[in-house]
Amino acid sequence: MLPIVQHPAAAKEFVNDPNRSRWHDQALWFVRSKRDKQAGSLPEWEYLRETASGIKTHTIANMAHYLQEFERNATARGAVVHWARDAEHHNEIVLRILRDHKTKRIVKSKSMLTEECGLNHYLEDNGIDVVDTDLGERIVQLRNEPPSHIVLPAIHIKKEEVGQTFHTHLGTDEGASDPKYLTEAARGHLRDKFLAGEIGITGVNFAIAETGGLVVCTNEGNADLGTSLPRVHIACMGIEKLLPRQRDLGVFTRLLARSATGQPITTYTSHFIGPRDENSELHIVLVDNGRTRLRESETFRAAMHCIRCGACMNTCPVYRRSGGHSYRATVPGPIGSVLSPTRDQNSYKSLPYACSLCGSCSDVCPVKIPLHHQLLAWRGELVGKKLLPASKRWAMTMASYLFRFPRLFRLVGKVGRFALRILPRWATHHRFNAWTIARELPDPPKETFRDWHRRHRTK
């Protein structure tokens, strides 16, 4: 069984470093503002979101049909399609392909799916040298950390820390922290890796049923370099990446980069249809890993629309301050808090509470996943299943009791207001009351709402 994630405890270290927490908050807000500018530049933005949501709803409903159509067309174009039940099965399939080619060194471009499956560690344990080639992913790989964001894997790391990591691993000057210098060093280091890579592994942004083709979007060009040198390309994708027709890409390529980083499109939007030539191979691994189960839930099915743009993270006031690692999952932030409990309710039960229900995530999501409604729905399910910690359960029971008896409610209100006025600070701010660690109690109101209402209703 997975360990239980207590989001408040997991976030503590990050939050307790006010400089880092504020810096992280501002870095992501900057990305969010760029997104707003791009979204605002298109009068049809809302129309695109609706259309994208409609296309996804249709595709996911009709998934068996489109998966088979995709398989047929991809195979006709010379690709080999594999089906993986779960993470383990996916990893086995990839390793088998590597073994068939006697491969020792692979270059990988960003793929949240392979993160979800823990592919890197699995391959390393089996003697394969795995190089992540996305700069952010390489940074976290060298530091032996997981990514903290699905689009900006190293957003939590300061440039001085990157400098230190590169000094240790790439031999850059000690104390160097200029992003330009560090990026140049990584470029040189990774060029060698690209040239030595025997097989290229990529994720997939979109797969097209009608053509059997794949689309991979990057800014760095690493997916393209990684697949245009070696003869074998392995593309790993969750089954929800499917789109029916090539022209549907018009909608999604317009939404993805604008939502993710505030760019009008990614630098490279590459379309792969079959292997490079007669002497090359393209393997496509279609992965379920809980997706067909998620599809069965009326409440959470729409979470399959996700195109992993990261916009909900950039806008989330909790994510921005607590950092991606506090979610202890491959996908953090609002969508992660919806998805993680579908994998294991007990382990991830605190995540739907790492949310103020402000609804900002639902407003920015390019495929219109009702994220905050889903987070609220999770709370309902978790309460029903008695998966809440005793302290919360007890408080909720008390509150619901109070709300049922108006007289009692009034009395308690009166006591409370009186107490606020007379209680000394030591009685409220002590180590047993976690709520007051960083908060002050409010001043008691001069008049209750009830009194105010009584005064005004006759007028």
């Binding site: 296309i55 470029r187 690209f194 490079r276 599809r295």
Partner: protein, 211 residues
Amino acid sequence: MTMETTKSTQSDTSARQAILDRIQTKRVDIPPLPDVDPERVIQFDQPIDKFVEMLAMVGGQAHQVDSQADVRGVLDEIDVFKTATRVVSLAPDAVAGTIDATQVDDPHELATLDWTIARGEFMIAENGSIWVDGDTLPHRVLLFIAQYLAIVVPRSQIVSNMHQAYERIEGFGGRFGVFVSGPSKTADIEQSLVLGAHGCRKLQVFIVGDM
């Protein structure tokens, strides 16, 4: 066939069946597949101006020239072109290369390439990108491995938005094609934008009037 492959094929088919079965047992209402109404998406009266503006925004440089013969003169003004020794040109009417990529067998041999001069099919105004058809590339890697990239594209070939772009490549039968928008870039270190991540360091786009 070895035992290993037999086994993997078998487990693949059982996984395939399990996944499809699970989907088919849960029937979900299928709403119709929406299409984009071309009347409801942005169009530009001056698409070239918009393209040039967006290309600058994404870090590329546009040059408007009358004919392919004018390309060379502009490139000669660029220091890193003047000193370049290894150049592949796929637009020989504009620039003659120093390496014939069709004679190269192994793409790894292109590792030290200084410049690629590529051909673009058409421009997309809304995002400053250019569609490059893989069939024009003797090696796919040419577009990504060169230190510097130039793309030559006819001025008459431009669309406003991505819907029109996909309409243009409807039925595309090639193995590879890519929309290129600016030079390769990263902002993975503290959100500072750095041009020249893994691909080209700079991108020059030649918009050619008579081509």
